[in-house]
């Protein structure tokens, strides 16, 4: 079987690699690039722990081949913080205790980020539907939902400060 040469941009940095076609994206991220923040949970496309952004859309990286990501922009949990400053979602998960063991957290945060990009002011129901592809097995989702609500409020306030006008007023 022939290897394929691919180029992917992960968190702003371009990487080239020769990969077997069967290599899963999550294994490229974790084993080849050493970005172990993206977790492998169920390995069957159910749990969402491996969620990353590909060209801005959330995807389960255990259900995508590395060759499918060739030429694409990928964002992982490692790309969320701005230096020492946590992303508002990361800070909110900390503040609201939106985790116990933390295994699902990277996927939860990545999925929540696209949820808030689509809908800056979601209802609780919309949040729950938005993270329906992400499973937490420690506890309920109460604090996770609270964390996403906190981040939504803070991100909307920050956007308002920047633009001088409220966003997602609807």
């Amino acid at each position: 079987m022939t290897t394929q040469h691919i180029s992917v941009t992960v968190n702003g940095e371009t990487h080239e690699a020769d990969v077997e076609p069967r290599l899963l994206l999550v294994h490229l991220l974790r084993d080849t690039l050493g970005l172990t923040g993206t977790h492998v949970g169920c390995d069957t496309s159910h749990c969402g722990a491996c969620t990353v952004h590909i060209d801005g859309a959330s995807a389960k990286s255990c259900t995508m081949l590395a060759v499918q990501a060739d030429g694409r922009q990928i964002k992982t949990i490692e790309g969320m913080a701005d230096g020492a400053t946590l992303h508002p979602l990361q800070q909110a998960f900390w503040d609201q205790h939106g985790l116990q063991c933390g295994f699902c957290t990277p996927g939860m945060i990545m999925q929540s980020a696209t949820l808030l990009a689509d809908n800056a002011d979601p209802t609780e129901q919309e949040i729950r539907e938005g993270i329906s592809g992400n499973l937490c097995r420690c506890t309920g989702y109460v604090n996770i939902v609270k964390a996403i609500q906190q981040a939504a409020t803070e991100m909307a306030a920050a956007a308002e400060t920047q633009t001088g006008s409220p966003v997602a007023a609807s």
């Binding site: 079987m1 069967r22 069957t44 259900t63 995508m64 938005g130 329906s132």
Partner: protein, 291 residues
């Protein structure tokens, strides 16, 4: 889980794709979003020798309405279908599906063509295509042909697509005035495959009676199927709860479910009747509101 080895190509257009399918007939498998195929490859339930990635094949993801039908490109993702203005305006049936198929990540990448060609017996789209008597368009090197949805789903994971063909387009009959449709899915938990699901389409005549009816069921046979006995119960009659219950009973009787972790045979049969009943009520409301 590590898939078995395979080769991979990413052709630049449809002609190149069709040539590869012909040259590597029998070992080539098309890859679209991957959310049906890759799980099977990881489990080694599917072991294709060559994956042909359709990513760079353009022109297969349009969603447009003609005078006769709504055309959905096979590469359109569930998300694209959900977000299409024409779908939001006139085809709430399709949004019933895009609201419940998989989860948000799956909807971002999974495609209607991939799902339909995969033909999981409990998947969502086939029931809709059966209820609406949709048409599927396939291309090969020898040309294009159309296949009626009712001739398409042959058996578990088996369709009428030939190994040298690409499913390019799904055509759903343009919704006329007085027609409505709905999809009702019973699932153990959000994002699951259907335990049972029913799609119902009702076309009302000027007299308010049901002039046309279509019912597709998923999860209750070796392949999704059209509940023709239920359709016969409905046609020519005035919509009523009593009529819908009789149609539901006919749909349940025509089902051939297997007992499994999602429930025993009797339960699934009863739920086929119930989902049909609920879908008929909602479809009829939509038909009456679109007079």
């Amino acid at each position: 889980m590590i898939p078995a080895q395979f080769d991979y190509v990413r052709p630049g257009d449809l002609d190149e794709t069709l040539r590869i399918l012909k040259d590597r007939e029998g070992e080539a498998k098309l890859l679209s979003g991957g959310y049906s195929l890759i799980p099977l490859i990881k489990l080694r339930l599917a072991q294709p020798g060559l994956l042909v990635d359709l990513r760079d094949v353009s022109g297969l993801d349009g969603i447009t309405e003609t005078d006769d039908y709504l055309s959905i490109g096979a590469k359109a993702t569930h998300r694209q279908i959900h977000d299409a203005t024409v779908v939001a305006d006139r085809y709430p049936l399709l949004q019933d599906v895009t609201d419940v198929i998989g989860d948000p990540q799956v909807r971002n990448w999974g495609t209607i063509g991939g799902s339909v060609a995969h033909a999981d017996p409990a998947s969502d789209w086939p029931a809709v295509l059966l209820a609406t008597s949709a048409t599927l368009v396939c291309r090969s090197q020898t040309g294009e042909r159309t296949i009626a949805a009712r001739d398409f789903f042959i058996d578990t994971f088996q369709t009428a697509i030939e190994p040298t063909e690409v499913l390019t387009e799904i055509r759903i009959q343009r919704r006329p005035r007085g027609a409505g449709a709905a999809y009702e899915k019973l699932e153990r938990k959000v994002g699951d495959f259907a335990t049972v699901a029913a799609a119902a389409m009702v076309g009302l005549g000027a007299d308010g009676r049901i002039a046309r009816a279509g019912i597709g069921l998923t999860g209750v046979a070796e392949a999704p199927f059209a509940a023709t006995d239920a359709e016969a119960v409905l046609t020519g009659n005035a919509p009523s709860d009593e009529l819908f219950r009789r149609a539901g009973a006919a749909a349940g009787a025509q089902s051939r479910p297997f007992g499994d972790v999602r429930g025993p045979v009797e339960y699934k049969r009863a739920m086929a009747a119930e989902m049909t009943l609920r879908a008929l009520h909602r479809a009829t409301k939509r038909a009456q509101a679109y007079a």
